[in-house]
Symmetry: C2
Subunit: 532 residues, 2 copies
């Protein structure tokens, strides 16, 4: 059912096949009111005009309105693609008690021919104490285990609801239990609306990443209530394959105009910074003069175009392996997004699990945030496990300098020189000391992206010092019998003295700057080392 | 002729009135081939479909093709709005000598009824030595001074060409001379194409900012050859009001797709991350199957939509006073943009000249880059010049802490407490020590944006220490007779000891964290100070 074509971080480009049509992931799922004329956009145009693959609507509202009358969801909404329904959990959170049993919730979604359904779970409010949250989870999980007895045989794909709120251990428990129930074809993380409303993207991402670790990777993950498109790249990077939101319409009701990173009040706009058909057809000055209804319909359509464009942008980024760059860029849009990004950085090891071993593009190391890229951490982890061979002498070429921003051509030349120098290549380990990846054995320099990067060339001195110290400690632990250091020495010698490293060894070093030196000088120095 | 409605940094939202129509600034000026069928987009649709106000074409190519035959530029190009022509300078740079005199260049632009013309200037190549560049400048300036004698009376707005290449003192000289010639209604900075091609945005911005300082602010500034839209916000922030580029078409010729920050090869695209009419009408997979000609036309149209959308986005940012945030965001897209941004940061004082004293939105302080915002520097500069009154006692409330991200409500409450405490308000200067703006006299806290900010809440300890040191030195120079420090003490006391500050004074301090403390506790502490 769920097929992948590319991955980047925990983001997955793929398709979910259903009887009613194929859903491309990551997928934005607009929330639709089940009563057609309550929507600001004609839902019959969702597929043809807005390229929507999947919608979600509330089975609870439907049942309240039409009782148990048999009706066809697709005809009612005039949407012929797959439709997801929720069970009333959100209403339960907002209104307290609701008038439906777990059995009803299942049978009603079957009656109206939902394509994706969900058992009646109990969402957790941000104000719930731990013990209340725990009780709610127990009830939800009991109902989920029981779904086999409640459901008929049908084509419905059931979503396993993951609850737990801010209590990460409850999310873990919930995810482990739900992941073990075969009936579920997909998972859904809930109880995030209040957290979204408070812009607590840090908590949101902790929740998603916690769940993700314990969920069967073969099944897609949905997020109930994703809010504003500025958060889309982050929740995709954390492992969500689809997510619904009503924000395109809700924002429109308040004269708010959405972009991929921001929200503007119509009255604050001098021009529409977008090329969608709506924005090209009018100006803020003209729109302000129109009726409330006309403004809402206009803005809802623009907002939906904006959400869909960001989804295509995320797909593009996964395909080209540049999702991290997208996150770094989006994180500059608001301090709360930055705090969310900081959580992703903490989980960098988890994010590196699916990292492609090679990408279409070199990597941009743009800021201090880039030091948390999975590729950097993976390399450092690998280095700890590498076994080094017979050559007990080390030749360390230091490129570490706060202003070096790329090493590609330099390393290529160095490699030629070393390969042509039999004495060195037979007797010495040759390692680079790189400003971003730190220690790189020259033999593996072609591993992506050890030299396929462009840095911003302004690393703090603090960071450089710290990296040198860790690299030297690592070298020291390898018990070399001779060490020659060549190139950008910076604070290397003073760190060796201060930290009393290499006590049994006299380090030989020749310092020069790769910035100023012609590679010929480097060649001469290296070739002259034969005479040592 | 040039009227402004809003400014932000050196960016100017306004209009240039011409006989052929109004030009909105900042303005993107597409380069058009004078022979209609050589263009990838039908120029007659430029105004109605692409919202283009002004185009530029080469009078040199026209003259070569049609000799001195009288022709009407607007009919030929099928563009009824204002048209700018260049004189052949670019061809001179590419082909060496060209076959035209300075007098010819002027009279020919008059003959074909250009709306904006330029004298035959001599561009400077990046390989030109200083003395060659100097000679070229002399010749260009001589011709410019002579323009009064060469030109007829006509409606043409003449552009004064600023040359100098990477030699900033030549740019300065050129700008001073040109700015003094009344005939010019507008200025144009040249010789940037090679620099653009090398992505040396740092040199580019140095050039623009140097010229800007010496040019009459009443006249608009054009940039010849602005390249990719990712640089647009930066050149606008540096003072350019219009800029031409052929990149929308040139990139299309190589199957390249432009966004506001990036360029993609069509073959690397999985989806179009844009909502323009072109992108909504197709997919990369479909477009790849089409003919070269169809692909070029499609991509040129998309690329032009993308350039125009970024222009509207820049206008929006100037209008709402958020151009700096836009720069911070765009600077994360590529290390070379970051280097360009670093140049703007250096010129922060110049950028603050037109800063509005209040804006529609609070300020986001997103990263270390935000410390260079004009508002921060302006405040620090003002503080140095403030005269303090009779009250020779200081009450310093320290909010400096690396994790405090906003102070708005806290400062409001503090102000109430202080105003209600007659003893303190009569006898003490009350200053805040703020993590971003450092010293803020409580009396002026309502000056924008001293408390209207949201920070990212992760300032480095290094930076905090340095700011505290400078603030304490400033306080020390004010010879207070008593100083009470309250709140986040952090390293304050240890810095006082280390640096031997306040030698004649015993500093009284009460430390607590505003994060944990309820404001009531703060109120009690402050009110109890009466008893001192």
């Amino acid at each position: 059912m769920f097929e992948l074509t590319s991955t980047d971080l925990l983001g997955r480009l793929g398709t979910i096949k259903t009887a009613k049509g194929t859903i491309r992931t990551p997928c934005f799922v607009p929330v639709v009111h089940p009563v057609p004329d309550k929507n600001l956009i004609d839902v019959s145009t969702f597929q043809s005009v807005f390229d929507v693959d999947l919608i979600i609507t509330s089975s609870y509202i439907l049942r309240k309105r039409f009782a148990e009358k048999k009706l066809n969801l697709h005809e009612l909404t005039s949407f012929s693609g797959p439709i997801m329904t929720d069970s009333g959990a959100y209403q339960a959170l907002v209104y307290g008690k609701i008038d439906i049993t777990p059995e009803n919730a299942i049978s009603y979604q079957e009656l109206i021919e939902s394509d994706f359904g969900v058992p009646l779970d109990i969402p957790i409010s941000k104000n719930d104490s731990y013990s209340i949250a725990q009780q709610k989870i127990e009830t939800t999980l009991e109902r989920c285990k029981n779904i086999v007895n409640m459901k008929q045989d049908s084509d419905i794909i059931w979503l396993g609801p993951i609850q737990g709120g801010k209590y990460l251990d409850l999310i873990e428990k919930s995810a482990i239990t739900i992941s073990g129930i075969d009936t579920f074809g997909m998972f859904a993380i809930g109880s995030v609306v209040e957290i979204m409303n408070d812009y607590r993207y840090d908590i949101l991402l902790e929740m998603i990443l916690t769940a993700k670790q314990f969920l069967d990777p073969a099944k897609p993950i949905h997020l109930f209530g994703a809010g504003h498109p500025s958060i889309f790249p982050f929740i995709v990077a954390a492992g969500c394959d689809s997510f619904d939101s009503a924000s395109y319409a809700l924002y429109a009701q308040d004269d708010r105009y959405i972009t991929n990173t921001q929200t503007f009040l119509l009255e604050d706009l001098e021009a529409f910074p977008c090329s969608c058909p709506m924005c090209l057809s009018s100006t803020p000055q003209v729109l302000k003069q129109q009726t409330k209804k006309a403004r809402m319909r206009f803005l809802a359509a623009h907002n939906l175009y904006a959400c869909q464009a960001e989804i295509r942008n995320i797909r593009r980024a996964i395909y080209s392996g540049t999702l991290w760059e997208l996150l770094e860029n989006r994180a500059t849009a608001h301090p709360n997004l930055k705090k969310g990004f900081d959580v992703l950085k903490k989980y960098s090891t988890l994010l590196s699990k699916n990292a492609p071993s090679t990408k279409r593009k070199g990597v941009f190391l743009l800021s201090e945030n880039s030091f948390y890229r999975p590729e950097l951490l993976l390399h450092k982890k690998r280095m700890k496990n590498i076994q080094f061979g017979e050559r007990k002498k080390l030749f360390l070429i230091s490129l570490i300098n706060s202003t070096i921003s790329e090493t590609y051509s330099l390393v290529k030349l160095l490699k030629e020189i070393i390969i042509n120098n039999q004495f060195i290549s037979e007797n010495y380990e040759v390692w680079l000391l790189d400003p971003y990846f730190n220690i790189i054995p020259l033999e593996i320099n072609e591993v992506y992206p050890l030299v396929q990067y462009i840095g911003s060339g302004n690393i703090s001195k603090e960071k450089i010092k710290n990296d040198i110290l860790n690299s030297l400690k690592f070298i020291d632990s390898n018990n070399f019998k001779r060490i020659i250091i060549l190139g950008e020495l910076g604070p290397i010698n003073s760190i060796i003295n201060q930290q009393k490293l290499f006590q049994k060894l006299k380090i030989e070093s020749i310092g020069f700057s790769f910035k100023d030196s012609k590679i010929n000088i480097v060649r001469d120095i290296i070739n002259n080392l034969i005479k040592f």
